[in-house]
């Protein structure tokens, strides 16, 4: 495929410095980290050459935290302290989780669980899913830094496309806790489409069917001349391979006529169920044998027919969102050129058959369904970090998966931003006060497609404070809902008649507020073995160096956009930052950084306008030549 050269010559950063950037697939069952080496996306293996890291963390009574294989081998011995599939808990409350009764954990139950994220008691204290995910991410960061021989500039972390705002925010917070600078949250099917599209020079409309360990996504994309444009996305963030295991687990219980089993035995049988499922990918029947702690013996055979029968409704459940995504894109199954299969659970023959029957064409399986997401994320990370070579300058346009709305009178939802809007996207709405002298307003923001607030997910309560006191109905508060390129919502408010900026306080329904994240970060610093202070200083230095280079390169190209006076001001800010850059006074670096950033804001705006004018002019020239 002839990719468009989209950047101006010289816009890329200095070629001598290759920034270390990784893509991380933080999966329900397994996680991976990948990077781009000499122009090729590759998965980074551990010391034993293994690419996957089981997403399992153990907090033992004695000894250090275990992540990955060692934790996995202990899961039936120490089920309470060994946490698996924690991704399913991200940004969720207890009442959201299915099959909680068959989980061995000590959930904290205090009567508030309708309003807060799940927390679990372990031998090393209370943990929330953000902290557990951070431990997995930290292990991957360490693996990558060891292999690449340096500190990472940043990471792209993938999330299911159907993750809502709370789940996305939880993932970003976990990355921050793990000491990663997040370049972007990237939707998993989109990451797969990048890897597939670049590899196969694909052009046309494609579907990505992504059935992972705990989540299902379907995305419809248009691939054209180096642009990956997501047309629509749908899914179920609580449906995946785990649910197939659970069906087999229940089947074992019925067939072997077992009385309720111990926590350790339940874990053992869940493992056997998963092994049987995987075995059936290649074989017609799978033996299931286990010796329980009670002395009972399980000895069963699961045929692929029975397996298909007991999981049929699960496979069917993926087709509703698939129909909806096609409808939203205004397309029919026959409009799709190819269906890219992603996620380990798509290896199941009954899934392959169902997808083939629905789309009327054989699905595309020429990528490793376990690795493709991490590889796509690495490619994106490399680009975002500024390591761009000519020819790999593609553009990605993604969407918001679920509509955002606010609660109005009577518990109804007013949609503000409809699902499948291309991000970044913003909407402004005006509100007024209903009491004399009222200085605060509260807004309940929900996400979902239903008309009633109670049927949608509550995201957060935004409290706008500091509205100047006026008579009722006189204040005009303009509230702007902005969804950024990570798919995350932020809210700003301004009183229109006075221009007064209202303060917005966020109370996330199933997440942490900023203060909690900061205090968790501080806790991490005091316990961390690596010197967090030095790390933070190093980060500030890297950031400052990056800005210096960017400004210098901008001046080289576009100094003509500045007056002599403006130029002199930027030069003096630049000199100031360069003079403190290598010192160890972080505050001085931060303040010089801020001054240069502010001092170049108008310059940046003019450069952007110039870029757009040139792009439009370029298109006109093209057409004259045609």
């Amino acid at each position: 495929m002839a990719l468009l050269q989209l950047s101006e010559p010289g816009q890329s950063t200095a070629p001598h410095e290759h920034r270390l950037a990784v893509g991380i697939d933080l999966g329900t069952t397994n996680s991976l980290v990948a990077t781009v080496r000499s122009g090729m996306a590759v998965v980074i293996n551990d010391e034993l050459g293994r690419s996957l890291l089981p997403s399992v963390v153990r907090y033992p009574a004695a000894g250090p935290i275990e992540v990955g294989f060692s934790a996995q081998t202990h899961q039936s011995l120490d089920p309470k302290n060994t946490l698996v599939s924690v991704k399913r808990f991200m940004g969720r409350g207890l009442k959201d989780i299915a099959h909680i009764e068959s989980m061995p954990y000590d959930f904290i139950v205090n009567g508030n669980e309708a309003e807060e994220m799940i927390r679990l008691k372990t031998a090393q204290g209370v943990k929330n899913p953000i902290e557990v995910s951070a431990d997995i991410l930290r292990a991957l960061r360490e693996r990558a830094e060891l292999a690449l021989g340096g500190t990472l500039t940043g990471a792209v972390i993938t999330v299911p496309a159907y993750f809502d705002d709370a789940q996305r925010q939880a993932t970003k917070d976990a990355a921050r806790l793990a000491g990663l600078s997040v370049l972007r949250l990237l939707n998993e099917p989109t990451a797969a489409a990048i890897a597939y599209g670049l590899d196969n020079a694909a052009e046309g409309i494609y579907a990505v069917y992504d059935l992972g360990g705990g989540t299902f996504d379907i995305s419809i994309l248009k691939l054209s001349k180096g642009v990956f444009q997501v047309l629509s996305t749908g899914g179920d963030s609580a449906l995946g391979g785990d649910d197939f295991d659970h069906r087999v687990f229940c089947w074992i219980g019925e067939q072997a006529q077992l009385a309720p089993v111990s926590l350790g035995d339940a874990r053992l049988l869940q493992m056997r169920a998963r092994e049987a499922k995987e075995f059936l990918t290649q074989h017609g029947e799978a033996p299931i044998t286990a010796k329980l702690s009670t002395g009972e013996f399980v000895d069963l055979k699961l045929t692929s027919e029975i397996f298909a029968e007991i999981t049929r409704t699960l496979v069917q459940k993926t087709l509703g969102p698939t129909r909806k995504a096609l409808r939203d894109a205004g397309l029919a199954p026959e409009d799709i050129k190819g269906v890219v299969m992603v996620g380990g659970a798509t290896r199941m023959p009954q899934v392959q058959h169902a997808v083939e029957a629905f789309f009327g064409k054989e699905p595309l399986n020429n990528l490793d369904p376990d690795k493709v997401v991490a590889l796509g994320a690495a490619t994106q990370a490399n680009l975002l970090a500024g390591n761009r070579a000519s020819g790999d300058d593609w553009l990605l346009l993604d969407v918001i998966p679920l509509s955002l709305g606010i609660e109005t009178m009577g518990g109804l939802v007013e949609k503000i931003i409809p699902r499948n809007s291309t991000i970044p996207v913003a909407r402004a709405q005006e509100f007024t006060t209903f009491k004399d002298g009222q200085t605060a307003l509260a807004l309940q923001v929900v996400q979902g497609e239903r008309e009633l607030v109670s049927d949608c997910r509550s995201l957060a309560r935004f409290e706008l404070r500091g509205i100047p006191p006026m008579v009722a109905g006189a204040a005009r508060v303009r509230v702007t809902f902005q969804v950024d390129a990570d798919g995350l919502l932020s809210v700003t408010a301004r009183e229109q008649t006075t221009g007064h900026e209202a303060r917005v306080e966020v109370k996330p329904s199933y997440g942490l507020n900023d203060d909690e994240v900061t205090s968790m970060l501080k806790d991490g610093y005091t316990h961390a073995s690596d010197d967090a202070f030095r790390r933070a200083l190093r980060e500030a230095q890297v950031e400052a160096q990056r800005l210096v280079e960017a400004v210098q390169s901008a001046l080289k190209e576009d100094a003509h956009l500045l007056s002599t006076l403006e130029r002199a001001h930027i030069d003096s800010c630049l000199t100031k930052l360069q003079s403190v850059l290598l010192g160890d006074d972080r505050r001085a670096i931060d303040s010089a950084l801020d001054a240069l950033s502010k001092g170049t804001a108008e310059f940046a705006a003019r450069r952007m306008n110039q870029g757009v004018r040139r792009a439009l002019a370029g298109r006109k020239v093209d057409e004259v030549n045609l």
Binding site: T13, V227, R327, L397, A485, L596, M608
Partner: protein, 180 residues
């Protein structure tokens, strides 16, 4: 305040893309121009730069997305043109519609209600597709009215099409209930 706020945000969407201010529009050309601009301003192109530049990129990309979505959709485009012409469409206050149109809408509404009652996703899906296509003859008339500067007539057509749009939304909500 930078020249983004003082210049770019104040331009109308047609000027932003360098397109004539009219209802007739070359959709392929609009898409190409949209992609060209996003390729310059999208946050992914500025992720390695300062926070200020990242914010500017987000504002620009948001603005271009809104402009593109407004111009791409013929109904939104028409409403935008009427807004630029300071013509009030009276969506809330004026509910007068031609009898023939109303009859047809009533029949469609009945069909939707029946399929919804029966939980018939397939029929709803078909109705959804049909309604999305059905607007086309009205869109031709709408373009003619706007070209002729017959704003009252254009406003009337916009109100009809909005009515139809609401029905599509209802079909969508019904499917949401059935398919979940």
């Amino acid at each position: 305040m930078t020249s983004f706020d003082t210049e770019t945000l104040r331009q109308d969407f047609f000027t932003l893309f360098g397109l004539p201010r009219q209802q007739g529009l070359d959709a392929d050309r609009l898409e190409l121009l949209y992609r060209d601009i996003q390729a310059k301003v999208h946050p992914d192109k500025h992720a390695h730069l300062s926070d200020g530049e990242k914010r500017l990129a987000m504002q620009w990309a948001t603005h271009v997305n809104e402009a593109y979505q407004t111009l791409k959709d013929p109904l939104k485009r028409a409403r935008y043109l009427l807004k630029l012409a300071d013509h009030d469409v009276q969506l809330e206050t004026n509910t007068a519609m031609p009898a023939e149109f109303l009859m047809e809408q009533m029949e469609l509404r009945e069909a939707v209600a029946e399929a919804k009652e029966a939980g018939d996703a397939e029929t709803l899906d078909r109705l959804h597709r049909r309604l999305k296509k059905d607007g086309r003859s009205e869109f031709g008339l709408l373009q003619q009215a706007l070209d002729d500067k017959a704003l009252e007539r254009a406003g009337e057509l916009v109100r009809q099409l909005m009515f139809q749009e609401k029905l599509i939304q209802e079909v969508d909500d019904a499917l949401e209930l059935i398919e979940r």
